[in-house]
Amino acid sequence: MHRLRSIKERSARWFMRIIAYCSILFLIIIGIALFVKAFPAIKNNGLWELLTSARWRPSGGKFGFLPFIISTLYVSAIAIAIALPLSLLTAIYLNSYASKGIRRFFAPVIDLLSGIPPVIYGVWGTITIVPFIANYIAPHFSGQSSGYSVMAGGIVLAVMIIPLLVGLLVEIFNSIPKEMTDASFSLGATKLQTVKRVILRRSLPGIVAVTVLSVSRAFGETMAVLMVCGNSTLMPHSLLDACYPIPALIANNYGEMLSIPGYESALMLAAFLLFVIVFLFNGISRLTLNHLEKRFHF
C-alpha cells in the first residue's frame, strides 16, 4: 500500500516535470529551427547590413529589415501608450469606485471583448479609424495620408489589447486583501490616496508583468495591423506614414517566397527577429521587475 503510493507520487512528479521542461524545449527548438533557416540570408548579406539597411528589394536580393523592425516597435509603442493608461483607469474604476451592479455587468463584457477575433478589429479599423485619420487628422498636419498608417495600427492594436489588459488588471487589483485597503481607510486615507499608495503600489509587479504580456501580444499581432498599417516597405517617418510590422510582412509574403531566391531565408530571419525582440523584451522586463521588487517592498 505504502509502496504503491510512493510509486504514484514519484511518477506523477516525473510526468509533470517532463511536461514542464518540454515547454522550454519547444522554445529552444523553435529558436534553433528559425535560426538555421535564416542562416543563408545572414551569410549572404551580413547581419549588420540586414538590421540597419532600409532597402527592401527582394527581386534584387536586397533585404533591409530596419523599416520593419522600426514599424513593429513603433506601432506597439503607440498601442501600449494608449492602452495602458486607459486600462489602468478603467480597472481602478471597476475595482475601487464602481458599484457591484456595474462590476457584474462589466466582467462578462470584458471577457467577450477579449474574445473577438483580430480580423474583426481589423475590419473595424479600415472602415472607421483609417478614413477618420485620412479626413480629419492628416489635414491638420501638412501631410497627405491615406489613413493607413502607424497611428491607425497603434489605435486598432490599443483597442484590441485594452480588454485583455483591463481583465488582467482587475484581477490583480481584486487580489488585494480587503484588510489592507481597510487599514488605509481607517487611518483616514481618501479613496484616491488608497489607490495611489496601497493598491497601485502593491500591484506594481503585476502591472509590469501584464504590460509585458500585452506588449508581446502587440509585437506578434498580425491580422489587425496588416489591414490598417498600409504595408509600405519604406521607412515610416511620422505617425501618419504607412508602415509594415514584421508579422504582417511574413503573412503577406509567405506565399510567394519560394519564387524568389533568398526570399524564404529572409522571411525566416524576419520571424527569428520577431522571436528575438519578444525574447529580449521579456528578459529586460524581468530584470527591471527584479530590481523594482528589491527597491520597493511589495
Partner: protein, 254 residues
C-alpha cells in the same frame, strides 16, 4: 473641541449586514478618558460595533447602519460630517493586523504623511517615538527600511498599534489589540493603554475576561448583537444585574 466633553453617546444604533440584523438597538454612553472594555462571546458583534464607531462600514455596500453616534456632541453619521475627519479622530486597530505593502518606516509614517506632515525630520521623529511606544523599536530599528511583511504576527500587531497611534487620534478603538502577543508584551501594551487614558478615550474589544478585569474602568457586555449590561467595572464584576452576565463572568459559556 476641548477634552472636557470627551465622550461617546450612541442612540438606537442598528447594523444590518446582508439583510441580517447584527447590532440591535444599541443605546450606550461611553465615558471619556477611561478604558472601556467590550466583552462578549465570539460572533456577538463586537468588531461590528467597533467598526461603526469610525464608519468603516461605509466601505462595505452590504452593510446598512442606522441610528446616531455622538462623538464630542457631533453625530458622526450626520451627512455634513467628513468621514476622513472621523477616521482620523477615531483610530481603529483592526482585529487582524495588516501591514501596508511598504517598509516598516513607511507603515508608521503613513498616517502622518497623508495628513500632510511633510518635514522629513518630523516624520522620522514621529516614527521612532511611536515604534518605541509600541515596544517594537529595538526589534526593527535595523530594518526600518525593509518590508513590513516578514514581521512576525506579534510584531505586526505592534506595528499596527504604532501606525494607528502615529495618526494621533483622540479615541483608540482596539479590536483584540494584544491577541497575538506573549504575556510580557501584553503587559507592556496594557501598561501603555493605562498611561494613554490620561489623554485618550480607549475602547478595547477583548476575549479575555481577566484582561478586562485588569484594565477596564467601564464594561460593555454584548450577547447576540445586543448590549446585555454596561456599567463601571467594579459594579459589573462584583454586582452584575443580569443572569446572563453572571453566567458569563462565572464562565458557564464563552
Amino acid at each position: 473641541m476641548t477634552g472636557t466633553n470627551h465622550k461617546i453617546r450612541i442612540e438606537s444604533l442598528n447594523v444590518n449586514i446582508d439583510g441580517q440584523h447584527i447590532l440591535k438597538n444599541i443605546d450606550l454612553t461611553i465615558p471619556g478618558r477611561e478604558i472601556t472594555c467590550v466583552i462578549g462571546p465570539s460572533g456577538c458583534g463586537k468588531s461590528t460595533f467597533l467598526k461603526s464607531l469610525n464608519r468603516m462600514h461605509d466601505e462595505n455596500p452590504d452593510v446598512n447602519v442606522s441610528g446616531s453616534i455622538f462623538v464630542d456632541n457631533q453625530d458622526i453619521y450626520d451627512r455634513n460630517i467628513n468621514v476622513i475627519d472621523i477616521r482620523k479622530k477615531m483610530g481603529l486597530l483592526a482585529q487582524h493586523p495588516c501591514p501596508l505593502p511598504m517598509s516598516v518606516f513607511d507603515n508608521v509614517a503613513y498616517g502622518p504623511r497623508i495628513h500632510s506632515l511633510d518635514s522629513k525630520k518630523e516624520i522620522s521623529k514621529t516614527v521612532e517615538h511611536y515604534l518605541r511606544l509600541a515596544g517594537l523599536w529595538d526589534e526593527v530599528k535595523d530594518k526600518l527600511h525593509s518590508s513590513a511583511a516578514p514581521l512576525s504576527l506579534g510584531q505586526q500587531q505592534r506595528l499596527c498599534l504604532a501606525r494607528g497611534l502615529a495618526t494621533e487620534p483622540e479615541y483608540i478603538l482596539g479590536d483584540e489589540a494584544t491577541s497575538s502577543l506573549d504575556p510580557i508584551s501584553t503587559k507592556k501594551i496594557e501598561q501603555l493603554f493605562v498611561t494613554l487614558k490620561e489623554e485618550y478615550t480607549i475602547i478595547l474589544v477583548t476575549h479575555i475576561l481577566r484582561q478586562a478585569r485588569r484594565l477596564a474602568d467601564y464594561i460593555v457586555f454584548m450577547y447576540l448583537g445586543e448590549i446585555i449590561e454596561a456599567g463601571p467595572a467594579d459594579e459589573f464584576f462584583n454586582n452584575p444585574k443580569q443572569q446572563l452576565t453572571k453566567d458569563y463572568i462565572a464562565g458557564s459559556f464563552s
